[in-house]
Symmetry: C2
């Protein structure tokens, strides 16, 4: 069955269960082999029609729970750290995508979409396709495929938000293995920021945040002096996630 027919069939049920006019789009970032990835779905029958995983909020459901539910369905992962970052409400945001759909059909409504972003452990995720999609894959943020509607703009804005977040909140837990070296953590920051950082400055600034515990052992293997291993101190990490870093002004 074609995408359009599937969606039309679902219309009544969607009206019964969800708040009209409000949708959710999720930008799910993962880190793998020194590159930043984002989880995309390809809409059924759309060759270059990749989309962000998304959905709607139940009439008696809070938005964060709805976003959790949507992501769990798509990834199998639970307890994902999700953050709303912006509302997308341009009048032409879906373009012509639903232009041949019947008037009054659920998908043909005007939707104001709330963007969430998530940082996940790449290895926790098993991408799942649903009845609307024929692919669900991790894509490199540096070489993205064509995307439907305003989803590319939503993704770009999530990336800007993530970069900004590096200035006032910790990032890295879930993206890195439990134990990591300072160069590995620096690499993650460099990938997110899209630029190189000075090694000494990075070390000093990161240590000043007081969220790392140095481990006893060192990373084995390799010709050079084995680098020290660190873990995030999860208690202080969570505190900083909630309140922001104490530095700044």
């Amino acid at each position: 069955m074609e995408l359009k027919d599937i969606l039309i069939q679902r219309s009544t049920e969607l009206y019964q269960n969800y708040l009209p006019h409000i949708s959710i789009d999720c930008v799910v970032f993962g880190f793998h082999e020194a590159s930043l990835k984002v989880l995309l779905v390809r809409m059924k029958g759309q060759e270059d029609g990749w989309a962000l995983p998304g959905g709607y909020m139940g009439k008696d459901e809070v938005m964060k729970k709805a976003a959790d539910r949507i992501l769990t369905e798509r990834t199998g992962a639970t307890n994902i750290y999700l953050q709303q970052f912006r509302v997308f409400d341009e009048l032409d945001r879906v373009g012509d995508f639903f232009k041949d759909y019947p008037h009054g059909q659920w998908h043909a409504q005007r939707f104001v979409s709330v963007g969430f972003y998530a940082l996940v452990d790449y290895t926790d995720v098993t991408p799942v396709i649903d009845e609307y999609s024929d692919a669900c894959e991790w894509m490199d943020v540096d070489s993205l495929p064509g995307m439907v509607m305003d989803h590319r703009a939503i993704l770009d804005k999530a990336l800007i938000t993530l970069r900004r977040q590096l200035n006032y909140k910790p990032v890295g837990n879930k993206l890195l293995p439990e134990e990591f070296t300072m160069p590995e953590l620096q690499k993650l920051y460099e990938i997110i920021l899209g630029k190189s950082l000075n090694r000494g400055n990075f070390y000093r600034k990161m240590m000043a945040y007081n969220i790392l515990d140095k481990q006893e052992g060192t990373r084995k293997g390799g010709a050079h002096k084995a680098p020290n291993l660190y873990k995030f101190n999860l208690e202080r990490y969570k505190e900083a996630l909630k309140d922001g870093f104490k530095e700044g002004w």
Copy 2:
């Protein structure tokens, strides 16, 4: 006429013109006599029922334009710098406020509210009451009156967002007179942050942002050495507002 009767009378018209389930709440900050103020309206007949200025978005209106319209109605000020900062969607966010309203009445719907905050020139604003309110006043953020629904939580979150913004965006244009001294700018930051700052550090950090132009003259009067006057370089200020400061990581 009582508030409830006025609102019930408006229900049909509101359904015709606005998107259901979505509202807008505005937190308008101004700076006056070394204190941070917020613009509040008192809902008609509610003794301790102060609220944020708010409203709805037209069926063919973008949200930012709707927020602009709402604020212009309430303040007479145009071209206000407005920033959406969060969606508020708790199931019990309005509490019992509309519990005696007829089922299906516009205001008795579940609303997901988008919070905007604005920084305005206190002197540009002429608070205006509407048919729902019997007062519209600037209140000091340090001594707020009782507020309806979840409006106090929305205000608190806006203040946290504004504080955070000091770490990556310029603040001060519109809040300060065109020419100001470094101590006056520092005072503004201290009021927003609710804490004292070191004078030397403040000066160095602020100059590094490269958004100030030192003026020829000095502030006259006073016994001490007259302090230098500065202006924001609006071109670089706007650039920093758009892209964030170049420092940070």
